[in-house]
Amino acid sequence: MATPWAGRSLPWSLSSAASTVRRDRLGDVALPPRIARRRITPGLVIGAAIVAVLVLAAVLAPLLAPFDPNRIMVGPRLTAPSGVHPFGTDALGRDQFSRILFGARIALLMALLGTAISAVIGVSLGLLAGFRGGRTDALVSRGMDVWLAFPGLLLAIVLVARLGPSLQNAIIALGIVGAPSFFRLSRTLTLSARETPYVESARAVGASESRIVLRHILPNITGALLVMMTLRAGIIILAGGGLSFIGLGAQPPQPEWGALLAVGRDHMATAPWLAWFPGLSITLTVLGLNLLGDGLRDLLDTQRLNVGVRRSHTIHA
């Protein structure tokens, strides 16, 4: 059912090739209001900077962290931020700065692996459905609609409860839950790419189906997929925190930010730093990923590819 944009060229769902042409056309006429396209926005810069900091923190965590993140009683319990413990200590006397740093690794892992799982499932099915069309398309699309009709967070909870709560299984569950958004996006893009001259000429010279898909279609939609992945990554980090809130996420003593925040909530009045630092870490990271995604979309001019993004399977965590 609901794939209203299937294979249609709408004003807001042109392929990137077509839009390049349009941009050139627009170039010579100044139009009210001014349209900003293909430019580096401040959001992009800020987003990229935040994500860069996240990646740096994750990679350099062992070098930067003053303490073992899981070691208890490295300082007094519940001490406020200080020179020794820049983010304070928790109820077990662990150094929160070290825990946040190592938590960045978990956030990054969730973001990368979770979106990768969504993307691999979603894109391969999307390419299949979009390229084959007909019955295959109808069948796969139906399947994806069922998938999407399933309430996202509930699906994740059921999956994690089924697989057993662990960081790994939370990532798998969130990855599976996110697949339909990649499916929709890649299917729509494949449908339009199929009609482009270069695919038709590749077909004419007798290129195999898989070659056409992998060599001609996939490279042309990676920009849009990249945008989608940054946006999904933010959602997955949030949803992972939501799973931790109900005890189905990372296992102790892993310093997953959502788990830290869930504990920090109890200390809001007496040791507020325990909530603020993980809370702000999540917020900034998700904000950064969103700004990066939006910025990339402007930069790569995949604006109208947000068909799929619109249909993305968001989870309110």
Binding site: A91, A161, G164, P252, D266, M268, A269, A271
Partner: protein, 568 residues
């Protein structure tokens, strides 16, 4: 459904359709929109009427009618609501909160753990311990107006034996061989063997006496709301929100646990469902509830600074222990169990993980139960890292360069299973780091309450962080008896000598002798180290100052008969 919900729903439906018409879009989709909203409203308007209103018997007595002493309305937060009002139904935290106010038991326990008469006025135990004859208190009426008599008591326990399989006290009830209504107010219980834990069993809220007519009325209908003789009657129940209990003005048979043994002073008690502990705390601070229970040290610290809130604490009849899988290598090796026991620093757990909300334990029974003996402290496998390492060496393990232990090419590492219930995560983390100190790597596995039950019962663990709450030393039999292996004896501990003692204890009616039997059993158990006792939890009741004379009773029960709420 409250009117305001209906009004707002209709309002939003109108607003949506109005917005649809005003929008530049053609009117058609808007109309469709409105149409989808309307049926939903109609459906729930008709259908919610039935489930929301409560049982007829409870509702007939308007709370306003009892206009005598107005002790106000007490509002207490509870984490979850019961599924049914049936003492013998599936147990839940919500059910045990509600039961004591709606149902009376034959006896109760006072603050010092003594058995005190409630519906039973007096009793007589035969010398062989196989017959107990109970005289019921006269002039007691159920909240549906029917009188409490021997038949009702017989009915209650017969029903329990027949269909109470889901109840935690089912095994205790099964010991009763026969119940006989001797006359109107005399009941005789017979047993095949003396049942020393009988009084513990029948003092549990689950053993509340039920009005037979309320069961017949409920029949097979879905809304199971049974009626007892309690100081309150079930009032309005808003599913997912709150349960209101109305004062029973005729109540005159309270136990000598509170000063007021007549009808409660409170007009009503409202039990508000608030699942999130942080939200409960906020609701208390905002004055939306008067009482909450606290088991989080951070919340305790926060409340300690609140001028209008006082805290009352009680030690529960509970033990948190670190169990070993006694049937699984290498934990089937006594020396390994002893070694790991010696690695546990209980004081650190109580301080760091609990913020002091517990008492470091050493014996298998909590200090509140008969059979506990401070002298058992001498048998404790106390915190001693060197001894732990020495014992591991004795058990045939050798420490590698990294301090990790190996035996027959197998490293010593453990999976620690526990539930997601707080503060298990913190305790497990501290235990993990303590075992790491002696070179044992621990992986923590936290499962939700149901999955963990299955995993623990199936022995899918090396170490088990578990808790029991029980009001009788028979707990040792339930959690360590050989014939409970595969169910509640999760650590699969088996010692025939202990079994024999526990069997004797279950049949010994002399309190002194019984306590001695359990002391002996505890000594044997501690030598076998099937588990390491960690602590006995402390429960806190946080009360707003406008509530007077609210007491914390046995097993953390809230005693409300003396309570008044002022300044409302």
């Amino acid at each position: 459904m409250p009117r305001w919900i209906l009004v707002l729903l209709l309002g939003s439906a109108l607003a949506l359709s109005a917005a649809g018409c005003a929008a530049p879009a053609p009117a058609m989709p808007a109309a469709v929109d409105a149409a989808t909203v309307a049926p939903a409203v109609v459906v729930d308007a008709t259908a919610t009427e039935a489930p929301v209103t409560t049982d007829a018997p409870a509702a007939t007595e308007a709370p306003v009618a009892a206009a005598e002493p107005s002790g106000g309305v007490l509002v207490r937060a509870m984490t979850s609501e019961p599924a049914q009002i049936d003492p013998q139904g599936p147990p839940s935290s919500g059910l045990s909160v509600v039961l004591p106010y709606l149902f009376d038991t034959l006896v109760v326990r006072d603050l010092d753990n003594n058995v005190v008469p409630l519906l039973a006025e007096s009793w007589d135990e035969a010398a062989d311990g196989k017959t107990i004859t109970i005289k019921l208190r006269p002039d007691v009426k159920f909240n549906d107006g029917t009188p409490l008599d021997a038949e009702a008591v017989k009915f209650t326990f017969d029903r329990f034996k027949e269909s109470g399989v889901q109840s935690p006290i089912y095994a205790g009830i099964q010991q009763i061989a026969g119940i006989e209504a001797v006359d109107d107010l005399t009941v005789r219980f017979t047993f095949d063997a003396p049942a020393a834990n009988f009084w513990s069993t029948v003092s549990m809220p689950y053993a509340g006496i039920i009005s037979p007519s309320s069961v017949q009325e409920a029949g097979d209908v879905s809304e199971v709301r049974l009626v007892g003789t309690g100081p309150f009657r079930l009032g309005e129940w808003k599913p997912g929100q709150s349960i209101t209990l109305d004062r029973n003005p005729d109540y005159a048979w309270g136990a000598a646990v509170t000063e007021n043994q007549g009808a409660p002073y409170l007009d009503q008690m409202v039990l508000k469902v608030i699942p999130d502990a942080a939200a409960q705390l906020a609701a208390l601070e905002a004055g939306e509830v008067d009482v909450i229970f606290v088991n989080n040290p951070a919340h305790r610290d926060q409340l300690a600074t609140e001028p209008n809130i006082r805290l009352e604490e009680t030690v529960l009849n509970s033990l948190i222990y670190l169990g070993f899988n006694n049937r699984k290598a290498p934990y089937d090796d006594l020396k390994v169990r002893q070694a790991l026991s010696h690695a546990i620093n209980k004081d650190q757990i109580v301080e760091a993980a609990l913020g002091g909300l517990g008492i470091a334990a050493f014996a298998p029974l909590p200090p509140t139960l008969p059979g506990f003996d401070p002298a058992l402290k001498a048998d404790e496998l106390g915190y001693d890292v060197e001894k732990a390492k020495a014992l591991l060496t004795e058990a045939g393990f050798t420490a590698g360069g990294d301090g990790k232990w190996m035996r027959d090419g197998e490293p010593l590492r453990a999976v620690l299973l526990t539930s997601t219930r707080p503060p298990n995560d913190a305790i497990a983390t501290v235990i993990q780091s303590q075992l790491q100190e002696i070179g044992v790597d621990v992986e923590i596995q936290q499962l939700d309450g149901k999955a963990v039950m299955e995993a623990a019962g199936g022995g899918q663990f090396d170490l088990l962080l578990w808790r029991y709450d029980w009001n009788d030393p028979d707990a040792l039999n339930i959690f360590l008896g050989s014939d409970r292996i595969g169910s509640t004896n999760r650590v699969a501990y088996s010692n025939p000598q202990v079994d024999e003692l526990l069997k004797q204890g279950a049949q010994e009616l002399d309190e002194q002798k019984r306590a001695q039997i359990y002391r002996d059993a505890e000594k044997l158990i501690m030598a076998d180290a099937p588990w390491q006792a960690i602590y006995n939890p402390i429960d806190l009741m946080a009360i707003r100052d406008n509530v007077q004379d609210l007491k914390m009773g046995y097993m953390g029960r809230m005693l409300v008969n003396d309570a008044r709420v002022v300044g409302q």
